[in-house]
């Protein structure tokens, strides 16, 4: 599978360049400015980077499946908001301000279901009624930004929920004592671990199962898939539903880590859905690549926090823009991300 080969080359390049940049930064920083690298690169930093990357990764995988099949779901941000508010609402309904750990899981499942239902409507408009994908996606964002705080106001009388509960880490006694690996792997949020499993599963699904073949074919040459006897519309429905569910799950994970819903400003999702789109483009539509990109962005973001903590003076507002700049540079200098050929085109079986 040379498509993989290409992608692998890309990650290698991506990973290598990221590593080179970090090493050079570290070397220059520690020599010239006396940075204390031990203070910057901590276990907590790794954990926070992973937690930051988790919701982004989930939404990114959903988005890349949809786009692979030919539907650009630009509404990931909106679905994440919907996922977060649904989780918070159900969590509150189940256990008030003191829900149990079990309630969190139920609430997340419920949030995925809510996202699925709303995505189904979205999918009908997109696929059956050939909605403009960009605009409809933006609309989902607007709807999320409007209705999620509205619902919060109705439920809690405030756009912010009271503190509910956040999910506990899964700690393996003994193993969690291993330096570095222990606290990262054996004392970790179950959602981070679950995401890891989902990333691998979605990679296998995409490149090693028949359904994965169909997803790829639907986005590249829907007619070919149709003539191969597979219903393109059904494939696209499946991926769009999946993308909404995954983005909703991403929002749920964000909430389960944070512990309460914030609906002021751009809401607690705060652009993560957009970063998710960037992540899968950056990862060239490969689930592993998307996850790697999400971790890279998460890491950059958290590195910036580490800089602040270590007292290295950086204008954080400018540094926060770093991922966006990187995306532009990568898109224009590094090479064009090849979109699936049929993205954005609706497919009409009768023609």
């Amino acid at each position: 599978m040379s498509d993989d080969g290409l992608l692998q080359q890309r990650w290698v390049r991506l990973g290598a360049s990221a590593a080179v940049v970090l090493v050079v930064l570290g070397a220059v920083g520690s020599m010239m400015f006396g940075w204390d690298l031990e203070r910057l690169l901590t276990v907590g930093f790794v954990n926070r980077s992973l937690q930051m990357a988790t919701p982004i990764t989930l939404a990114a995988i959903g988005g890349l499946y949809a786009e692979k099949s030919g539907v650009f779901n630009i509404g990931l941000e909106g679905f994440m908001i919907i996922g977060a508010i649904s989780t918070a609402g159900v969590l509150f309904a189940l256990g008030g301000t003191t829900p149990s750990q079990g309630d969190i899981w139920i609430a997340m499942v419920a949030a995925v279901l809510v996202s699925l239902v709303l995505t189904a409507i979205f999918a009908v408009l997109l696929i059956d009624y050939q909605a403009d994908q960009i605009v409809a996606g933006l609309a989902v964002w607007f709807i999320g930004l409007g209705f999620a705080p509205f619902v919060a106001s109705l439920v809690w009388g405030s756009r912010n929920s009271p503190g509910l509960a956040s999910i506990d880490n899964v700690t393996v006694p003994g193993l969690s004592e291993i330096p570095w690996i222990g606290p990262v792997v054996f004392d970790q949020s179950p959602l981070v671990l679950l995401t890891l499993v989902l990333v691998i599963a979605s990679w296998v699904f995409l490149y090693r199962t028949r359904y994965g073949y169909w997803v790829q074919a639907a986005g590249e040459n829907p007619k070919a898939l149709d003539t191969a006897g597979v219903n393109v519309t059904r494939v696209r429905y499946a991926t769009v539903l999946f993308s909404g569910a995954m983005a909703g799950f991403g929002g749920a994970v964000l909430l389960a880590h944070a512990g309460n819903f914030v609906g002021t400003g751009d809401t607690m999702v705060n652009g993560r859905g957009w970063i998710a789109i960037v992540a899968y483009l950056f990862g060239n539509y490969n689930p592993l690549g998307a996850a790697a990109a999400a971790v890279l962005f998460g890491g950059l973001d958290m590195l910036q926090v580490q800089f602040q903590t270590a007292g290295i003076d950086v204008p954080s507002r400018l540094v926060n823009l770093f991922p966006y700049v990187i995306v532009i540079v990568v898109l224009s200098v590094w090479g064009k991300t090849r979109m699936p050929s049929a993205v954005g085109e609706s497919y009409d079986q009768e023609e």
Partner: protein, 378 residues
């Protein structure tokens, strides 16, 4: 040209315009726009009712809030001015087949360029009306230039480096807001300012108050928007540059065949779009803000412009009614915020629904066909 043939020509032009207006596709677009808005409002009212508020009162307040009083009308026109301009910026790009999602960023860059250029040059110019007019001119030109450059950037990246403009413009929005926010908080922060903003524009830098005495609205601003619409419509329909752009938008291969340099056209289109977005920023800064604040807290006019443009089927003339409709919705939202307990986020949600339905013309064609409203299945 003799006056006889002149009147003949204008007459035939009038007939042609009338022909366009009565064109089935135009009527259909209007139908779709009205349908989408009505449908979204209907859903909004149902939600209002479900949430335990009085939907009839809400509906009344929507209308009263948009057009019920002189103040409401002024407020509606104030929002409409920005929506029309932002919508126009989007429409120009979409018409030419370029997806400029970055109007918000270009709007912000234009706005800060306008304010800072006025503040920096004001000491060297006379005060009073003369200085005011000069400074407004300087500010507007700078806004247009910087907005245009900020639009040209993703255009050039698309044309010469193949970078998808949807992604780059979204990124450039974040960057514009971040950088300008940093500037306003730091280097550009006004010395006397207690809150986060630049220095105030001099008092004499303001649009004159005509008809309405709203401190944040001037008919001049709305006039600028309408003139821009006319100007853009003229460029697109009457000049060869417009023909090149629109042809690229409809059918890039045919444009290439006809000698249009597609790369230059992309850059030109994005520049023009950015220029209009920059102008929007200038009008916002001069007419409404009188200084520049952290753009993170400024309304999403650029994104709303996308909705406006789509509602207008990317037709520059259609942007005017679409902009007024959105202005009315926004204005009603403001009114409802002040006069009732319905959370204002609902209005944002309803706008989202309008956008969603506008994106689905097929749905309304189908509904139209079902209801027998000229449902010629096209």
């Amino acid at each position: 040209m003799s006056s006889v043939s002149d009147t003949d020509e204008s007459k035939s032009r009038l007939e042609r315009i009338a022909g366009y207006l009565l064109d089935a596709t135009v009527l259909e677009r209007i139908g779709i726009a009205v349908g989408a808005t009505a449908f979204a409002l209907l859903i909004g009212l149902v939600i209002v009712a479900l949430a335990g508020y009085d939907p009839f009162r809400f509906a009344t307040q929507l209308v009263v809030g948009a057009f019920g009083s002189e103040r409401a009308i002024a407020r509606t026109l104030r929002f409409s001015t920005l929506f029309v301009l932002a919508g126009l910026a989007v429409a120009v790009a979409f018409r030419a087949g370029v997806f400029n999602i970055g109007v918000q960023g270009q709007f912000v860059v234009g706005g800060i360029a306008c304010v800072m250029s006025i503040i920096w040059t004001a000491p060297y110019l006379p005060t009073g009306t003369v200085g005011g007019v000069l400074l407004i001119g300087i500010g507007v030109v700078n806004a247009i230039v910087f907005g245009g450059l900020y639009g040209a950037l993703p255009g050039a990246l698309k044309a010469y480096a193949g970078a998808n403009e949807i992604i780059t413009t979204i990124m450039l929005n974040f960057i514009a807001i971040g950088v300008v926010g940093w500037l306003v908080n730091g280097p550009f922060r006004g010395e006397e300012a207690t809150s986060v903003r630049t220095e105030q524009l001099p008092d004499y830098v303001a649009f004159p108050q005509v008809v309405f005495s709203d401190p944040n609205f001037s008919v001049v601003g709305f006039g600028i928007a309408v003139l821009s619409v006319i100007g853009v419509a003229f460029v697109l329909t009457r000049t060869r540059y417009g023909y090149d752009m629109v042809t690229s938008g409809y059918q890039a291969t045919a444009a290439r065949f006809s000698g249009v340099d597609s790369k230059q056209t992309i850059v030109a289109t994005m520049t023009l779009s950015g220029m209009i977005a920059g102008l929007t920023g200038a009008v916002f800064a001069i007419m409404i803000q009188g200084s520049y604040t952290d753009p993170a807290g400024i309304g999403n006019y650029g994104f709303d412009g996308i909705a406006v443009s789509l509602l207008a089927a990317n037709n520059p003339i259609g942007v005017v009614p679409a902009g007024i409709l959105f202005g009315g919705l926004e204005s009603a939202g403001s009114h409802i915020q002040i006069r009732s307990d319905v959370p204002v986020q609902l209005i944002n949600g309803i706008i989202g629904l309008v956008v969603l339905f506008v994106a689905v013309p097929e749905l309304f064609r189908m509904i139209g066909a079902r209801m027998g409203l000229g449902g010629d299945d096209r």
